[in-house]
């Protein structure tokens, strides 16, 4: 063996960290102990660079049953029910092997949810990949979607939402985030604790193999060089088995339902080392583990390999001796392997030790205070430096605010039908190619599914008493905002998420976040991270919301260039009554006329300085205009809007047909998508009409040519059309109820601006602009399909 | 070698399950199109099937093949969609 320093450095530990380990042990560690420390003290497991910042986030609230730090956050939703939720990243594994990386990401987060005793009822997948003009990026997207589809569908958990972003900064390092929601009866909540001295630790599920060895320290901490050979890294990619996971879900939920376990934890990053040390540490006890009892996939596995393997679909259950036989029966029913691998032990002088044996009759191979592994990794306050000012290019005669206020990118770019249509078409990308590959309906909960902002699900799950409530869930990110200003960018992203929830009629209960950043050893990245956390904190405090879970993914970069800061914000809301959901079912007829309004924000007919285009898709992606000052929201008005609009959309009597928020692509994109979505409803209805017998086959879209259009009388500015100022919405209202709707908005103190009235087949603005919607419709339907096929 | 003293051998039998020629083969056609796009325009047919390796102990090769033939008819191939062929890849007397 070469000298110790070489070994620990290869494992990613620093000289100082090695000294700390000696301090914890009071002696030099052996190789197994060193390996266990290295995986537990990795960035991925210990959050050592981010924890100091994350401590600033508000995590308390009346409804919070479990905050960050456990396997998942849990909130109380009444009716003796609770929701478990979590978000994670699986970025680096997905860069190497997109399908397996994304699949195992879904598998991992499901275990985090059902380990709390919750039935997972929904997945959401925010994805960030490079532009699809490059084959490698298409390979990423195709594989990622296939991975999520094959795993999620087979394991029997619907994927109900997510988002898709394209940007060159993700070309070598796509982001695959995944959020999961579960439902449980409040009194069945189980924590990942190894309580009760003498209780047994049982390993459930798949065999332990050499897959994922070093995955934590190698995969989650090495950035990618596109010139290197990916195949060299393949052995550490884990392979998912959704069928094993499905049986594991059923077995674990049955164990929890019958109250046969005192604690349970999934095996994720750092495998057995993490599960055993964390469960023992949480209970302030120790654990003895016998690795000779671990069911293995390969012979000749070393203790280090067994203790750090990241083989998928495994759980560690803590049971009393009396319940062991019942546990074995349930495991047998679901064809799940189960081995007693350890027992909970008394602390020695109030220190709980994790001891690893190869047969309990032998001397221990490792003796480590459990808390030193689980809780006592060093925390770093890494240096931060504000990046140099982002330079702004002026390519189409735009002039910028010079007074230092957040008012910017005020173009003198003139509008005409051709340019506006070209810009609009580039922004209309229908994600259906993605979500139709996902089962998004299982459990009959999906009331509003993917492709519509927030997903709305019945608050229900198999084995749980029915309620009339619904939950509303969304994930949102806008890295272009955050690249310009990570504080306000993150703040506005929170507002966008809250708006998505509010316009479904729900009230946001809690926030989760997945913070995807570059290399934390780069002080500019650390500055972005710190500012982003501050923005999240400030927004959550402004709207009175707790953060109940989060995940940090650092080292996202390609060839040394860090990604744009990409905080993904998840929000979950509660809707009181599914009977009050806004559905368009009875209003799909060509004979009605509609008015359209914009709710909240500055007057759309003015050239208000708050309609900044900085960080918008129009500026950054269509016209390569980076930088500027972000749009500015009125916080008090927005807070009022979010509360009141949720009440308004529950009102069935004011002629409201559709509502959508203004986000990526600005007002014009929102309007176009609403018109297209409504026309789709009409199409499907027409097909079901018994009189439409002549439609038997062929391209049905072309046979139903009516498209809802809009005529906007005013000339709107480029800023008004394309600004992504969040906290606003567009509504479609029955024309004969339009006055009633307007007065209702006045009563609620919601600013309400008339946009235009319905027409047929065209989108018209002022006297000069007219866009053919039949063409836009075709483009929207096929945009992603034609690229990906 | 064998503890029971019988003359058993370990065979590795390869079952090749093929898409029937008359049945539409979306996977094969898609690959054929991709190959043609790459310039391989002389490819007239691509068919995707499965190769299944079965390790089985038997007294002799005929018995091994018979056993695998039966299991292929019952489970490994679907007669509506698939044809198959069976061959012994390896034999080993250390059963």
């Amino acid at each position: 063996m070469s000298n110790k320093a070489d070994i620990y450095k290869k494992l990613g530990l620093t000289d100082e960290e090695y000294k700390l380990i000696i301090g914890h042990l009071d002696r030099e560690p052996n190789d197994l102990e060193l390996a266990m420390f290295s995986v537990m003290w990795s960035e991925h497991c210990s959050y050592k660079s981010s924890k100091i910042h994350l401590k600033r986030l508000p995590t308390k609230g009346d409804k919070v049953l479990v905050g960050p730090g456990e396997n998942a956050g849990v909130i109380d939703v009444g009716d003796n029910l609770a929701i478990a939720l979590r978000i994670e990243s699986h970025n680096h594994p997905s860069a190497i092997e997109p399908a397996q990386g994304a699949a195992t990401g879904a598998g991992g987060i499901l275990r985090d949810i059902f380990t709390m005793g919750a039935r997972p009822i929904a997945l959401l997948d925010p994805l960030y990949v490079g532009p699809l003009d490059q084959p490698r990026h298409r390979w990423h997207l195709e594989g990622i979607v296939r991975g999520i589809s094959s795993y999620g569908n087979s394991v029997g958990v619907p994927t109900v939402g997510g988002e898709i972003h394209f940007d060159p900064c993700y070309g070598g390092n796509p982001l695959v985030n995944v959020a999961c929601v579960g439902v449980l009866e409040k009194d069945k909540l189980v924590l990942g604790q190894a309580s009760g001295v003498g209780n047994l630790a049982v390993l459930l599920g798949s065999t332990t193999g050499k897959d994922g060895i070093g995955g934590v320290s190698v995969l989650a901490s090495a950035s990618f060089d596109t010139n290197s050979n990916d195949t060299e890294k393949l052995p550490s990619v884990q392979v998912g088995d959704p069928y094993e996971e499905k049986r594991l879900i059923e077995a674990c939920l049955e164990l929890i339902d019958k109250r046969l376990v005192v604690g349970i934890q999934d095996l994720g990053g750092a495998g057995l080392t993490c599960a055993t040390s964390e469960t023992a540490a949480r209970a302030n006890l120790g654990m003895d583990v016998d690795i000779s009892q671990v069911h293995l996939r390969e012979i000749n596995m070393s203790p280090i390999e067994i203790m750090t393997s990241e083989s998928q679909e495994r759980m560690l259950a803590i049971v009393t001796k009396e319940n062991l036989e019942l546990l074995f029966q349930i495991a047998k029913k679901w064809e799940i392997a189960a081995s007693v691998i350890g027992k909970v032990t008394e602390p020695v002088e109030s220190v709980g030790y994790l001891r690893i044996f190869d047969g309990f009759e032998n001397e221990p191979l490792a003796v480590i205070p459990a808390k030193s592994l689980a809780d006592e990794a060093p925390l770093y306050e890494r240096p931060t430096t504000k990046p140099g000012q982002i330079t702004t290019k002026d390519i189409v005669g735009l002039n910028f605010g010079s007074d230092g206020k957040r008012a910017d990118l005020k173009p003198s770019y003139s509008l005409n039908s051709t340019d506006l249509k070209n810009d609009l078409l580039k922004m209309l990308i229908k994600p259906e190619w993605i979500y139709r590959q996902y089962d998004h309906q299982l459990f009959l909960n999906t009331l509003i599914g993917p492709g519509n902002g927030a997903a709305v699900l019945r608050l229900a799950a198999p084995g749980v008493k029915k309620t009339k409530k619904a939950i509303s869930i969304t994930t949102d990110g806008n890295p272009k905002w955050c690249a310009i200003d990570p504080f306000w960018g993150t703040y506005l992203t929170v507002v966008e998420a809250l708006t998505n929830i509010a316009i479904t009629g729900a009230t946001t209960q809690a926030i989760i976040n997945c913070l995807n950043f570059g290399n934390p050893e780069n002080p500019e990245v650390m500055w972005q991270f710190s500012k982003s956390v501050d923005g999240l904190k400030t927004a959550c405090e402004a709207f009175g919301l707790p953060v109940v879970g989060g995940n940090v993914s650092f080292y996202n970069s390609t060839n040394g260039v860090d990604i744009d800061p990409t905080p993904v914000i998840g929000a979950i809301g509660l809707h009181p009554d599914i009977a009050k959901l806004l559905k368009t079912k009875d209003r799909n007829t060509e004979s009605y006329e509609y008015d359209f309004f914009v709710l909240n924000g500055p007057d759309i007919t003015t050239d208000d300085t708050r309609f900044s285009l900085a960080g918008s898709k129009w500026a950054t992606q269509l016209h390569n205009l980076q930088g500027g000052f972000l749009p500015e929201i009125d916080i008090d008005e927005t807070r009022n809007f979010l509360i009141k609009v949720a009440e308004v959309v529950q009102n069935q009597d004011i002629g409201l047909v559709q509502i959508d928020d203004i986000s990526e692509g600005g007002l014009i994109s929102t309007v176009a998508k609403m018109l297209i979505r409504y026309s789709q409803h009409l199409q499907l209805n027409k097909l079901l009409d018994p009189k439409s017998d002549e439609i038997t086959s062929g391209n049905i879209q072309k046979q139903v040519d009516y498209k809802l259009g809009i005529k906007i009388e005013n000339n709107l500015s480029v800023n008004s059309l394309f600004s992504e100022l969040p906290g606003r919405a567009v509504v479609q209202v029955l024309k004969n109820k339009s006055q009633l709707f307007k007065s209702c908005m006045d009563e609620q103190n919601i600013r309400c601006y008339f946009l235009g009235s319905s027409t047929k087949n065209t989108l018209e603005i002022g006297a000069d602009i007219s866009i053919d919607l039949v063409e836009a419709f075709e483009h929207y339907q096929s945009s992603l399909d034609s690229v990906m096929s | 070698m064998d503890k029971q003293g019988s003359d058993r051998h370990l065979y590795e039998v390869l079952v090749e399950v093929r898409h029937k020629e008359k049945i539409a083969d979306p996977e094969g056609n898609t690959i054929k199109k991709a190959l043609s796009a790459l310039g391989y325009d002389r490819v007239s047919r691509v068919s995707v099937g499965k190769a299944i390796r079965v390790q089985i102990s038997a007294d002799n090769e005929t018995e091994a093949l018979n056993q695998v033939d039966k299991m292929t008819q019952r489970l490994l191939a679907n007669p509506v969609l698939e044809n198959y062929s069976i061959s012994v890849e390896e034999s080993n007397s250390h059963a």
């Binding site: 499905k246 | 979306p26 509506v80 969609l81």
Partner: protein, 219 residues
Amino acid sequence: MPNLIGIVVFPGTNCEFDVAEAVEAVGGNYRFIFHLDKELSDIDAVVIAGGFAHGDYLRPGAIARFSPIMESIEKFAEDGRPVIGICNGFQVLTEAGLLPGALQKNSNLTFLCEPTVLNIETNETPFTSKLSPGSKVKLFINHFSGNYTCNDQTLQELKSNNQIVLTYLNNPNGSTQNIAGICNATRNVVGLMPHPERAIDELLGSDDGLKFFKSLINL
């Protein structure tokens, strides 16, 4: 008394709860039948629910057809009693030889979860008796292997015996003759790829599935 519906659960089945809810929605009773069970004497109709029985490994339905419950289901079907296979259940029934043909991968080689409009071709089955031939329904599909395939002889038999139960208005998966569902020659075994249990409430996008379950409940 409404019929007691037996809902078959293999390891990997995942639509059993949804089928149960659909049965309850029309006032029926159900019992889950685990694949290791064999007892069907109290059951009036069997539904093999969708999902990924045995992980769909090898081929969808291939391993499930050898589960212990299948022997009882074969006898149940021979006695002329109703057996319905939805999605994965349809795949199991073709693998078991209770229905002719096979379901191969969708022609576009991707999973498809989307609404479809279907023509009701016959009401002479226990699952469509309350629907009108020639009418249209909106149901959702959710499958990777829903491309119905059979030889010419089978197709002729299906046609001449009026065994085609449902067809797609706009073929999503490459199925022969737009076939979405069929029955056996004695009409008591029905398999279909779309999921009527997902269409039991306007809030879910359609309630056209209710009539299928009403048919099954009140024979």
